[in-house]
Symmetry: C2
Subunit: 249 residues, 2 copies
């Protein structure tokens, strides 16, 4: 009798934040994949940030990541959040089979990544190396523009994509089944509600399909179990989505 051996994925990401790694965690959790969140293991078991930094400095495959997250799958080492999802999507059943739909899903993911970059830069508009406190004035200016102009534009875009997809009847971004882009849009809405609760209350009235998608993703068995577990790191002021009330004023 032959046995099909599945790969145990190893995710490497900062252990104390959701950050960009969370988009990968959500896909792995939704699919019930066999994976280890390496840097969250104790150092004594080969985990911790030390494990992450070791692979960052001297990757065995000759494909060094520029930054976390990265995923080890057998001998492969893959970095860049959207690229990891491009790789995992078909393997986890989180993207349709045909090339056109895969490129479209990836395109949406890259647009989500752009939004996430802009959210990050609201609290770090000058440099990721400086403390927030040392760029607070610039952060206020940048956040105002994000809330007034960029969030309505990005979120309005995804709402329109949901509406265009079978006139909203499929209740997901691509085709008729959930993709990793849906999981990522859920995470963006969660994060924005945490970081900019006042702005989001004003914006959500115009986003009924996005809010509906968010709620149904939260109720998926794999996601619901994950969100209720200790594996889900709470939002905090070290991640991408941070609650600084002065940036949501």
């Amino acid at each position: 009798m032959r046995q099909r051996r599945s790969v145990r994925y190893e995710l490497y990401y900062w252990p104390a934040i959701q950050g960009r790694g969370e988009f990968v965690r959500l896909a792995l959790e939704d699919a019930g994949a066999d994976y280890v969140d390496v840097a969250r293991l104790p150092e004594a078991s080969g985990g911790g940030e030390a494990a992450l930094l070791r692979l960052l400095d001297a990757p065995p495959s000759g494909h060094p990541p520029f930054a976390p997250p990265f995923l080890k799958a057998g001998r492969r080492l893959i970095a860049q959040t959207a690229n990891i999802l491009l790789f995992l999507g078909p393997r986890l059943g989180l993207v349709p089979r045909d090339e056109t739909a895969r490129l479209w899903t990836h395109q949406l993911q890259l647009t989500i990544a752009d939004l996430v970059d802009e959210v990050h830069d609201t609290h770090h508009p000058i440099s990721p190396r400086l403390y927030y406190e040392d760029q607070r004035e610039e952060a206020k200016r940048r956040s105002t523009h994000l809330r007034r102009h960029r969030l309505p534009k990005y979120l309005g875009y995804f709402e329109r994509v949901l509406k265009d997809n079978a006139r909203g009847r499929h209740r997901c971004l691509v085709g008729s089944a959930t993709t990793y882009a849906d999981l990522s849009l859920f995470q963006v809405i969660e994060g924005l509600r945490y970081a900019f609760p006042r702005a989001m209350r004003r914006l959500e009235d115009a986003l009924p399909l996005s809010v509906d998608l968010h709620d149904r993703i939260a109720a998926r068995p794999g996601i619901a179990a994950y969100l209720a577990s200790t594996r889900r790191i709470p939002f905090n002021d070290s991640g991408i989505f941070r609650r600084y009330p002065e940036l949501d004023a």
Copy 2:
């Protein structure tokens, strides 16, 4: 006798700047692909920004781009620079066949995209909707950090990738032949030399393999012909790479 009909690609990008569209133009030009740079045609021939905006507002396929560049290939409409290159790479012979190498090339491209975003934000650290003059002080601060920390980190990374690839003997980023990521790294070096000439003079001593790659890409027949043509838009102060001496001080 059967004739193989090749697709004529239609590129849609802002007609007066290199910008992000240039990474796609370089791939199409290097491969000698049959393409039209639609927005650079006269409006009377269906070109101009009007053509771009028309497709941005009402894309026929139901796959609306969030922003230019986007590529029309038959009935497909594909956006996000790195995603367009993911699609074009195999069709233009600018990426190896196997999946691992394709993901690695794409990963490098996404890292280049991150660098390009950071360069853009040196002159627009607060908002893309404000003039440079209205965010000049923040721009100075952000540029200092880019020149001191981010450029050495990014450029050092690509230099290391070149060195790791067969100990530098292949003189390209991936495998043994030119990929679209090599063309993009060429463009980044061109752009950085334009925008930050003083900083680049200091940095390039530590980047011999990158400079060698740059020079050999510039000499490729398709690229050399393109750079010498009027199709290559000169760098200017509307694009991503801008020469504001105060940001290179």
